[in-house]
């Protein structure tokens, strides 16, 4: 009895559902699907532009304020940190490893800067996004160390004196090696150099038991030397440098000042001007910047939001005036006039 009922009900149900399904299929095949066919009426156009204006202008104000909240101190030091006698021959100065290249810069704080204050070094005219440069690394070697030997992409910085270089490649070889120490009124500022790289880099891309080996041992020194006793996953400067920059003017995070800076403070920066950007007329800058909820100081987004918001309101007003002034003609059929002659 139960079985028969069950089959009865299932039979009752399936014609229903198959009817619905076949109706949908019929509509699909006959191209008669229920459709929404919006028309771009003047009302909707004006509404859209108005809406855009009223949404963009507040966003623009908020964004601009956030950007203005972030305070930045920019200091270009590569020209002035060369002593007078070497100004005409910068290249010989920078490549001479016997000269001590320390330099002192004074940064005056104009506004109150709240901790943490981020320290960046900026390089200009530096193509860290050049294809040959970007390819010149071995991710597997960074993760596994010397066991991984297919490092031909790292040419010519693959091996020196017959021994493999860890980490290999041009990116590693050209690591930035200027150093900065910060003092304020002869008291050293607390600078944190950890946690500056991406977390996923530290944990998954650079091996915890991979140590630098045979690094910067060749005749051409490109940049920094790495401590062979520290594993790569802890060498945060190195990790930050290995992330290729997007454009030819870029900043990389150096560290964080964990104290507030008052207006009027003078921060004394003792830096070692080691890195050679003179052979390709690059520029080096030191940046101190605070961050707002949005990020650093860049007025561009805020200003463009405001400009576009304002223009869209203007456009909507113009469109409304034009729409009210001209009655709509019933279409332009002049294209069909051609047919008379054919």
């Amino acid at each position: 009895m139960m079985e028969v009922e069950g089959s009865n009900t299932s039979m009752n149900r399936s014609p229903q559902s198959s009817f619905v399904r076949s109706k949908a299929l019929y509509q699909f095949k006959q191209q008669k699907l229920p459709a929404c066919k919006p028309v771009l009426t003047p009302t909707s156009v004006i509404t859209v532009f108005m809406l855009m204006g009223f949404v963009f202008i507040p966003i623009g104000f908020v964004t601009l304020r956030a950007s203005r909240d972030a305070i930045e101190i920019v200091d270009r030091y590569d020209v002035e940190c060369i002593p007078e006698e070497y100004r005409t021959n910068k290249l010989s100065y920078i490549t001479d490893s016997s000269i001590l290249k320390n330099c002192t810069r004074y940064l005056k704080v104009q506004k109150f800067m709240k901790a943490p204050i981020f320290i960046y070094y900026q390089l200009d005219n530096y193509y860290q996004n050049h294809r040959r440069y970007v390819k010149s690394r071995s991710d597997q070697q960074l993760l596994h160390g010397q066991e991984y030997s297919h490092t031909s992409a790292c040419e010519p910085e693959e091996s020196s004196n017959g021994l493999p270089i860890v980490p290999c490649g041009l990116i590693a070889w050209s690591m930035f090696n200027d150093t900065f120490t910060f003092t304020r009124e002869s008291a050293k500022l607390k600078v944190s150099r950890s946690n500056i790289a991406w977390k996923s880099d530290r944990e998954h891309k650079f091996g915890k038991d991979v140590y630098p080996f045979n690094f910067q041992n060749g005749s051409l020194i490109g940049g920094a030397k790495l401590d062979p006793k520290v594993p790569l996953s802890d060498q945060e400067d190195f990790i930050v440098w290995m992330r290729a920059a997007a454009l030819l003017s870029f900043r990389k995070l150096y560290g964080r000042i964990e104290e507030d800076l008052e207006p009027g403070n003078v921060v004394v920066v003792n830096l070692m001007n080691n890195y050679n950007t003179y052979s390709f007329s690059g520029q080096k800058k030191l940046i101190l910047s605070t961050s707002s909820w949005l990020g650093g100081r860049n007025d561009f987004l805020g200003i463009t939001y405001l400009v576009v918001g304002a223009s869209s309101i203007i456009i909507s007003i113009i469109f409304m005036l034009l729409h009210l002034k001209n009655p709509r003609p019933y279409g332009d059929n002049s294209w069909n006039k051609k047919s008379l002659s054919s």
């Binding site: 066919k37 992330r243 454009l247 900043r251 990020g295 332009d332 059929n333 069909n336 047919s339």
Partner: protein, 521 residues
Amino acid sequence: EALIDEITDKMERDLILLGATAVEDKLQNGVPECIDKLAQAGIKIWVLTGDKMETAINIGFASSLLRQEMKQIIINLETPHIKSLEKSGIKDEIELASRESVVKQIEEGRALLAASGASSEAFALIIDGKSLTYALEDEIKKTFLDLATGCASVICCRSSPKQKALVTRLVKSGTGKTTLAIGDGANDVGMLQEADIGVGISGVEGMQAVMSSDIAIAQFRYLERLLLVHGHWCYSRISSMICYFFYKNITFGVTIFLYEAYTSFSAQPAYNDWFLSLFNVFFSSLPVIALGVFDQDVSARFCYKFPLLYQEGVQNILFSWKRIIGWMFNGFISALAIFFLCKESLKHQLFDPNGKTAGWEVLGGTMYTCIVWVVNLQMALSISYFTWIQHIVIWGSIALWYIFLMIYGAMSPSFSTDAYMVFLEALAPAPSYWLTTLFVMIFALIPYFIYKSVQMRFFPVYHQMIQWIRYEGHSNDPEFVEMVRQRSIRPTTVGYTARRAASVRREDRFYDQFHNDLVAF
């Protein structure tokens, strides 16, 4: 013979007449309406048949190809002179005389055509198979074609299958226009193969026509739907699809090209390898396919109502160079907007509150997100027909991009290299990423939006006019519809609409005459 006649004469006497039967080879259903619609769409219709001249003329009247006041130019070889020559049987003389007669008749016809000039008097050309053999000869066929294209309708009767094919070829190569041949019997096969499009009607006379045709339909009247609805849709879909393909690839490629200017042209792509490969597969392909297969700029009902929409295809309005270059230009400026806006807003400052600066992956990820949004929103802006299919593919492609970023980013770094965790760790938590994306996707679409709204409001194209009519609810208002239709300048001379219009004209003339008489009085 004679004996049988004698006996039947003896038998068939004093019979009571019960009735009479006749067999009529009827026209199919809906043929006059179909011909009327096609004529309104600006399609010229010729009849090539094997029937004799009277039958063909009757069919012409039944299907409104011929009208009472149309001047009929008849070319045949039934003059007594030629008949007597045929009886005599001298081949050369018959040929000479026949050819001369055909040429003379063609010339007379052309003179008649030239004399009437621009008046709305329509002409019909009726030519039979025998004369057709001479008219299709190389020296004469050009003048024959001139005469035939000047007439509103052409009927070739008693034509053999070979002549049908030859006439089709003559029209195709002589006028350079697209020809469509429709037929249902084995004698139409040559014509069907010769024409640009061969349509076979399956049914009564077997399947030979169907087997040698490009398209098979069941009845003649389905030709109306085939041409006016599917023909128009196909044209509009394909032209939109091709223009959009160029647009989206130019948008994508130009951003990469612009980035090269900042990498000293070293061919470093702006995006991760898999991003590059999958752009045209996952993130922007389905909406275009949906556009090319399902889009309807005007619904079927309106395609029937406004047959002149078909001329959009004939005159290549939707695929003109202007439109193609316009779409490419749109792609170019979208790419410019995307690239420079992303570059400037993610410059070298820190882009998130934790101090990270925007590296290559971040810039690439942001630009790619903007491109996927812009390209899909552009699709949503440019179509005006949304079913659940379009919604799924457009919004789905965008959602797929985010899902892909997350999944790809979660794969081991040896596979995903530089895109490892780029979304979850760097992009998603940064408000500047979302703000930049929002701004760029709206900004890149503003030019097209302005263009389309201005066009729709001030200079609508024919199918947009029809969209307005539907939107404003005037579609059932016959006066309105007539006014829109009347703005077509092409006068129709064939079909019952033309017949009605001509009779209205006749009545008007009569009343004018009447009034003139009264006034004179």
